[in-house]
Symmetry: C2
């Protein structure tokens, strides 16, 4: 019997590809979680050496649908610009894997699932999960897929946290690591923004102390407000000004009311109220908590460098100059720690006015940096060179 | 019969000093608002020349209780550091006035008051008010107090918007103007943050479409979330880091739950849930809307300088280096416009890591700058010199 077996999970009417873990996960909190499913997608083919695996780690509200058409929203995948045949993360060269994080709501086990002990949705009785827990689940998936060692692990924002955790916890399983627009620990300001989002969800009476599924309700208003607040932090002031300024929405003059007079208001409302159709409120609580708890220095006696002692992983860190959620200073702190242990590290601060969201967007300097690092690392890893167009 | 008559208004069990305007206000929206009360406090004595009046304009959630003990919260006034006998805004020298803004909830007419036409609380039927409307009401108060021309009008944040409007609309009534940490128009990002706050309030079922007073309810949860989101923007990342970092609240280790593990979470919750005891949710909607609508350039053919053509007002602008809500670039834009009309203007960016809130705090460079400007202007205005301690 294989240690893991295929499992299909359904969310919002969509069946997700996944595996059911045979062994329970022992979480960082000490809690044992049995019956875990890891939902995932892959693209490309694992080579004979099993050396061309690329693990993509998604951000807070992302999921495993990196490219193609998202099965729930019908929109393009969140990294269509970067991943695909002939693209920087070339699915003709690499075997690309992305798993929905533990605690998520796109097929991997999370608070919306049924707690086998009660027959009801977990809700707030689901154990708090952490970034290391997410990474542990991904490692089980790689075992199942036969990928002992990854060519590369890459991700932005919360994805970058997972990348760092991978390099720390499984250095022998990672050849190259690319944490983008990330941090080794969540700042006070970022915890504060997450707390506002959680409070908005918990303030919604339809949240029902987390048991909304049992009550047949959805805390849409609270989740929408949480998303709106978060969304502001993903953009720079400059980007907001360029996109919207003080322009009015489908009107010539102020209405002297509380409708969305300004385009930026209309945009935010749209962001908030479309989000609730694809995301679970409790998952939002759990995943933001995982980010808040992440502190790779604290896990290593308060010394970040100790997380990487003796590492042979090749690192490429990328930050964006207008990102105020995960500013460049956060990436620099990681670079300094890696330098302190003589790690192989390159670092680029991409000049961009697009804010944190730049890692999802078509930013030429970002893409060029990444292309250079991926191609050079593939060469160093003994993978065939990229087919030039 | 005097054009205005004394009126006492009660809020939260506290009687506020005020005047009832005899004439209706014609608002910027074109709506006529009758039966307006302006609640206010004064300190010091108007001199024989009636030339020593200082109007203090409060910020979004401030009020007329600038100094002393706040009658509702029991806490010190919001500018106790700056205003008082022997202080920079010296109540032994100046006749200091502060009015609760129109639309507020500390005694001036606002959405929580009874609409005489219906006998019910105004709620959302209260007309949208603007910064110019607030200033118009203040001008009526000054008429009542016999202050034809102010020595100085001063305020931070939304107070700075009122100061700019005063200098624009009533230049002959202002000798010196001090807009601190302000802007001539609310940015897209700031509108976005306000919109999140409004959406949080409106998402609370206890808001009852604004008619919560009739229903005997208070949308506490929504208002608390709005306050929490706003509060983050008042502090700098550095200040949050220094005050809280990732320190835990009354515990030695993470609890792996959704209690306030981190001090910054506990602080934010406290800020949110104490605010609702002193502020009205609909007032929050109306006053944020007034700030969003403010655009002194748009009021002047899109050219800010035209707002100040030929002005004889002496200006002192102050910004704070770590203020990301009203960053220095906003004050510089005003300085440039004033320079373009050859106005008398001085400008200081105070180096501070305390964020927007610095204007409320004991910042020595800020206070020194202000002391110099006030004393020099008092001299130029023919007021007696400050008694040196």
């Amino acid at each position: 019997m294989p240690p893991e077996s295929p499992a299909a999970r359904e969310t919002l009417g969509v069946a997700h590809n996944g595996i059911a873990l045979t062994e329970p996960l022992v979480l960082q909190s000490g809690v044992t979680l049995a019956g875990v499913t890891v939902a995932y997608q892959t693209w490309g083919t694992l080579n004979a050496d099993k050396s061309n695996g690329v693990l993509v780690c998604h951000a807070l509200t992302g999921d495993q649908y990196v490219i193609g058409t998202h099965p729930v929203t019908g929109k393009p995948g969140w990294w269509n610009d970067l991943v695909g045949p002939g693209k920087i993360i070339d699915t003709d060269r690499f075997f690309v894997i992305c798993a929905n994080v533990l605690g998520g709501c796109m097929g991997s086990t999370g608070p919306k699932d049924i707690n086998p002990a009660t027959g009801k949705a977990w809700g707030l009785s689901f154990p708090v999960i952490t970034i290391p827990d997410m990474v542990q689940a991904q490692a089980k998936l790689l075992d199942h897929l036969g990928v002992r060692r990854l060519f590369c692990v890459i991700g932005g924002s919360m994805g970058a946290m997972q990348v760092l955790e991978w390099a720390h916890r499984y250095p022998e399983r990672v050849f190259a690591a690319v944490p983008i627009a990330g941090s080794y620990r969540h700042s006070a300001q970022n915890i504060a923004f997450h707390e506002v989002g959680r409070q908005a969800i918990m303030a919604d009476p339809d949240w029902c102390q987390g048991a909304y599924a049992d009550e047949g309700k959805i805390p849409k208003r609270g989740l929408a407000v949480a998303r709106m607040a978060a969304h502001i932090t993903y953009l720079s002031e400059t980007a907001l000004h360029r996109k919207f300024g003080r322009r009015l929405q489908d009107r010539d003059a102020l209405t002297y009311g509380f409708d969305a007079d300004f385009q930026v208001e209309s945009y935010l409302r749209h962001q908030g109220y479309t989000f609730v159709d694809r995301f679970d409120a409790n998952s939002y609580l759990y995943i933001t908590r995982a980010m808040d708890y992440f502190d790779l220095a604290a896990e290593n006696n308060g010394v970040l460098a100790e997380a990487f002692t003796g590492t042979k992983v090749r690192f490429c860190l990328i930050s964006f100059s207008s990102d105020w959620l995960f500013p460049t200073v956060e990436s620099r702190a990681i670079v300094r720690a890696l330098n302190a242990v003589a790690a192989n590290v390159s670092f680029v601060e991409v000049v961009s006015d697009k804010g944190h969201d730049a890692f999802l967007l078509d930013e030429p300097e970002f893409h060029q940096t990444l292309q250079g690092f991926i191609d050079g690392s593939a060469d160093a890893h003994g993978l065939p060179a990229r087919r030039k167009p």
